[in-house]
């Protein structure tokens, strides 16, 4: 679980680091804690998986990756764990997940996000996934992005959600 200081650190850092010589010192000053403690807690939050990454995160679309597609596959239940790992290891796949089928509307259980500079490149990547999946794959589809209607980073509210749901509390 996150303690209150962890939460304050995540809330303060989720908008990005200041592009200053000592960005963590500046963040620590805002939080009123020593820089060493901030760095140590960030390290621990990353190790525990509460933070996925602390990085310079590019906007791929602005870099020319225009053909972004969600590829979806109907893969045999007995093979999907092994094959999901193999598809996830392909360098052009950014995320790869197993999700439930919703029959009869949605027969696909494996999702792999693929980023190409053109549709031709993305189609070549799909063909490579078909090869990796082999006969365990009973079908697939591709859903190209047409518009980003909303995209905000995952946000953590300043207050713990349990409290926020209970309404105002007099501390």
């Amino acid at each position: 679980m996150l303690d209150p200081l962890d939460r304050r650190i995540l809330v303060a850092s989720q908008d990005g680091l200041p592009l200053a010589v000592e960005p963590f010192a500046e963040l620590a000053r805002r939080l009123g804690i020593p820089q060493a403690e901030l760095l140590e807690r960030l390290r621990r939050l990353r190790e525990r998986g509460a933070i996925r990454r602390i990085a310079a995160v590019p906007n791929h679309y602005r870099l020319g990756f225009l053909a972004n597609a969600m590829t979806v596959w109907d893969v045999d239940d007995r093979e999907v764990s092994r094959l999901g790992r193999e598809v996830g290891a392909l360098p052009f796949v950014s995320h790869c997940y197993r999700r439930p089928r919703r029959l009869p509307h949605w027969p696909y259980d494996l999702f792999a996000m693929v980023h190409g500079r053109s549709r031709a490149e993305t189609e070549a990547f799909r063909a490579r996934i078909v090869e990796v999946l082999g006969p365990a794959c009973r079908g697939g589809d591709v859903l190209y992005s047409r518009r980003i209607l909303k995209k905000t980073g995952l946000r953590l509210a300043p207050e713990p959600p349990e409290r926020a749901e209970e309404g105002p509390c007099s501390a």
Binding site: I51, R99, L143, T152
Partner: protein, 163 residues
């Protein structure tokens, strides 16, 4: 909420060799040290001031989504990927309704019969289900609820294949 990003957009940004090197090397992890930009500068053979300037330019051009922390989804509560098959003449209105929920942090139009795809994140699974139920009730359209079973690869970037 920002205006929707329309596809296609103008010509892509052309980063400098230093900017390429910074994106290649630090899209997964920044040095967690008091002077991270100095450490990055040493790694790519530039000065600290050049690195800060290069990152500031990338940020101003919208090429950097952020320099900083990306939270992991499931630690923040519950989430799901949801999809709807929306008739073309209702798409704008339904998309706006979906985006109006603060629990919706991504909402994409995709080329498919299921043309609206969005991520719902909330403190609890019950709240996620309540949001999906409210969207179904207000639109009269079914919502596919596709929560994560198992990740095989998380989004930690990918090789940028410069050319």
């Amino acid at each position: 909420m920002a205006a929707p990003t329309a596809y296609p957009s103008p010509a892509p940004f052309a980063p400098t060799p230093l900017q390429r090197a910074l994106l290649d090397r630090f899209q997964r992890e920044l040095p967690l040290v008091p002077a991270p930009f100095a450490a990055m500068a040493e790694a790519v053979g530039a000065s600290e001031a050049e690195v800060i300037e290069a990152l500031a330019q990338l940020q101003a051009a919208g090429v950097l989504a952020r320099v900083g922390v990306t939270l992991a989804p499931n630690r923040a509560g519950a989430s799901t990927l949801a999809a709807m098959a929306v008739p073309a003449d209702r798409l704008e209105a339904v998309a706006a309704l979906v985006s109006s929920y603060p629990e919706v942090n991504h909402n994409y139009e995709r080329e498919h019969r299921f043309n609206l795809w969005f991520v719902v994140t909330a403190p609890s699974r019950a709240r996620v289900e309540a949001v999906l139920a409210a969207i179904e009730a207000r639109t009269g359209l079914a919502v596919l609820d596709l929560p994560l079973d198992r990740p095989f690869k998380l989004d930690l970037g990918f090789p940028l294949r410069w050319r």
